[in-house]
Amino acid sequence: MATADDSELLKRLLAGDQQAFRELVTTYQSAMRAVAYAIVGNRHADEIVQDAWLSVVRNLSGFEGRSSLKTWLLTITANSAKNRYKQNRREVLLDDLPSPHGTVDDDRFSSDGHWLLAPFAWHQDTPDALLTEEELRECLEHTLLSLPQLQSSVLVLRERQGLELEEICNILEISLSNVRVLIHRARLKVFATVEHFEETGEC
């Protein structure tokens, strides 16, 4: 359902308030880019987002508020991306790629499943404290970009954009079990990277 904020913004958009369009783009463009990136990859993602924005403008008066504004925008983005690439319908790529600092894999455990190398205490252990370090912020951005395409998108949509798993499934047309696998792999790689950062001070 559309929120009160959505309705307020929508009113201003329909009235042609340029500042409202600025707010719309500022608030939602990165989520839209994550959706486009999941479907068409890096090379065409920006193009798809631009297409989607124009489509949003053309269809704004038809937005009925049955979903949130965000879900509506992300669905338009996914449709723009899929229309463009109808011919080569993508398979969900669950193939995994190694990450620079690895992941939390079998090597961390003994044969009976106990930790061989247990997690250690971090210097900073709250989000705000971690984010005060510029190098770590950059390192996180870098890590998100270095993940395989779908892992990156799904993690960004889940964590950074706060989408529910079901919303991610619906927008990207991926099964729940695949979304769960993708998120888990992505999180473990981010975990390994931050652990490496806490240990060495380097990304």
Partner: protein
């Protein structure tokens, strides 16, 4: 009882509320007795919250995009 490795394998599903009641109890039971895994889960939670708060730069092409949208609107 779950092993640490099994607990780690279920950690995202645990955090996302995707486990069955029984599975969730198994994880909770393991966490009760395993300080290493308690630390792991706590750090996983911190990372989720950190990614949520990671500041996003404003879109680089903001003004251009808004201009296109205004133009499209007046068509």
């Amino acid at each position: 009882m779950l092993s640490c490795k099994q607990q780690v394998a279920r950690s995202s599903d645990y955090l996302d509320g995707q486990l069955s009641f029984r599975q969730r109890l198994l994880v909770r039971h393991h966490l009760l007795f395993c300080p290493n895994c308690r630390r792991f889960i706590k750090q996983m939670r911190v990372l989720s919250a950190t990614l949520r708060k990671l500041p996003e730069p404003p879109p680089a092409d903001l003004e251009q995009t808004v201009e296109w949208m205004m133009r499209e609107r007046s068509r």
